[in-house]
Symmetry: C2
Subunit: 333 residues, 2 copies
């Protein structure tokens, strides 16, 4: 209240020590909760802390001790609910261990992702959960790992980085989708692949082909276009497919934007088709057309990633682990 404008310098342990009439080390002990300080001194220190409104400077502490009690989560786009949930789960888990989580959003642009990743890495956090575009330059991550900073890769592997990993079982998921459709009598099934040359897209596409083969069915390349996640572009492709002699009666998609775009395309050209989408859709029950989906569980992925990281941070020296999480068929008719 006195000296209202001049930003009052924050109290340090030295100030507390002076006011309490004890040594600096004693204050440090009290703050750290170390046992072995006489009760009356503890009280005096605590009173001084309250009076001066002291909070310890974590930067100094970190500089001295080297640990940050913080883990970093870098996801491609936080505005994507999948990643938001993933990040949230990591945070919840880490928090229960008293750690803080620095969440950073990297953007789809590999250049920018590299910068964000760099700036997080330079924070020397205790561990990192990483989901970035596959083209991102992550060469220095390996150095971090060998430098002792544990890293967990989620959703997709990164070339040149050997680390613990948490992935969805993409192939099994596609198998679930195909099994479901075949059980309903479909034999001409198409697969809309969201992109090419990326881990999840390729894995799901391959999974589709394998699942079809397992049923003795042919995965016709004509029915497996790589489609941009845009209804206006999907509609003509779909229409052309349906105009052939042997049109598909069902479609499987490889991610949720594609599922939504396909739903819009189907509506636009008023087609009749079964559809199974990879990744669950929120509020699918409210949709005009029911959609069966293959649900991944982002929260579960986040928990596993956090778990793995905590284990490494605690110094457990187990071999590199790859956790592959199952998916679930959510049937809606």
């Amino acid at each position: 209240m006195t000296d209202a404008n001049a930003t009052p310098r924050r109290a340090t342990m030295k100030d507390v020590a002076a006011l309490a009439g004890v040594g600096l080390s004693t204050v440090s002990r009290v703050v750290a909760g170390t046992a072995g300080v006489r009760a009356d001194k503890v009280r005096r220190v605590e009173r001084a802390i309250a009076e001066l409104n002291f909070t310890r400077n974590d930067f100094a502490r970190t500089l001295r001790t080297g640990n940050t009690a913080t883990i970093g989560v870098i996801v491609t786009r936080l505005s994507d609910p999948f990643f938001a949930q993933l990040a949230h789960a990591v945070q919840e888990r880490a928090q229960s261990e008293g750690m803080l989580v620095l969440i950073a959003s990297a953007s789809d642009d590999p250049e920018q992702a590299t910068r964000v990743l760099q700036s997080v890495v330079s924070r020397r956090l205790d561990g990192l959960v990483v989901v970035v575009p596959e083209q991102t330059d992550v060469s220095y991550l390996q150095q971090e790992i060998s430098g002792g900073t544990p890293i967990v890769l989620v959703d997709r592997p990164m070339a040149g980085v050997v680390a613990d990993e948490v992935f969805a079982d993409n192939a099994a998921g596609m198998s679930l989708a195909v099994d479901h459709l075949v059980a309903q009598g479909h034999t001409r099934i198409g697969c809309f692949v969201h992109t090419i040359g990326e881990f999840t897209a390729d894995a799901r596409r391959d999974g589709f082909v394998a699942a079809m083969a397992a049923h003795g069915l042919d995965a016709d390349a004509e029915l497996m276009p790589t489609v941009i996640e845009d209804a206006a572009l999907i509609a003509p492709v779909l229409q052309a497919m349906l105009a052939t002699d042997d049109p598909p009666t069902a479609i499987v998609t490889t991610n949720s934007p594609t599922t939504k775009a396909t739903l819009r395309a189907i509506r636009a050209i008023d087609a009749t088709l079964a559809l199974v989408g990879f990744d669950d859709l929120d509020d699918a029950d409210l949709m005009e057309r029911s959609v069966t989906t293959i649900a991944q569980d982002p929260a579960n992925m986040g928990q596993h990633a956090a778990e793995l990281l905590m284990m490494r941070i605690r110094g457990i020296d187990a071999p590199i682990r790859r956790v592959v999480l199952g998916t679930r068929l959510v049937t809606r008719s």
Copy 2:
């Protein structure tokens, strides 16, 4: 590569200086990009940096300079898309200024929110964007503000904290909703309020009442129940309303979970009703029943919050500002 297991100590500026054969300060200057170092020395230092794989320890830097180049964003739940988008927008804006963003998710539980908030505050970041449950204990935030850490409150005010604020114009939004329905000929309009005693809920409810009054219509208390965001609980309430002599022909809701729950309730009891929901719905175009909404723009809110914060961080000493952002009627029939 040599000495593979013993975690190699990270190189420091001192190491770089030694290898490059220059003084410590020179290395610091090169790293900081300060002008006035002879080109050949710059080169030598850079070579040494590359060789030793040096990265500056930000904690030491922060300890010395006092600024973290990091802002904190605390939101109630990151798994809520609204907040995820908000946080993402802050991050994008901050990043373009070279700042990092620490995003923390606080949970709906005020106790836990308090702890998260505390731990973020103890990080002494350059600024904070805060959205926490209204019951959260934020007494110490005011100290932070007077201690020089700028804070921006988003979405809702917090008792006892005088800071810059970014809110949606809740009353005007409700007015948009009512105007729209009245223009369609509705006069008996209900309002499902998601809770009581919270800023947004109260503001929207009051806005509804005022908007009705502006049309000379009565906002019947019977038609303004406080409903839990659950279709099973809303259905009987709605059914009872419709069974009266003078049933509503339209409903306005005060947030998106309520909108969705109401959609489900309407479907469950097969009612015929117009509906306008506060907060836009993703993929509303794919829904069985079209829903007109009042859209807030979380990204815009985030940008404004970041802008305000940057301004304060730069030391602009303007009076406290309250930014009220407009909402938009998204008509779907």
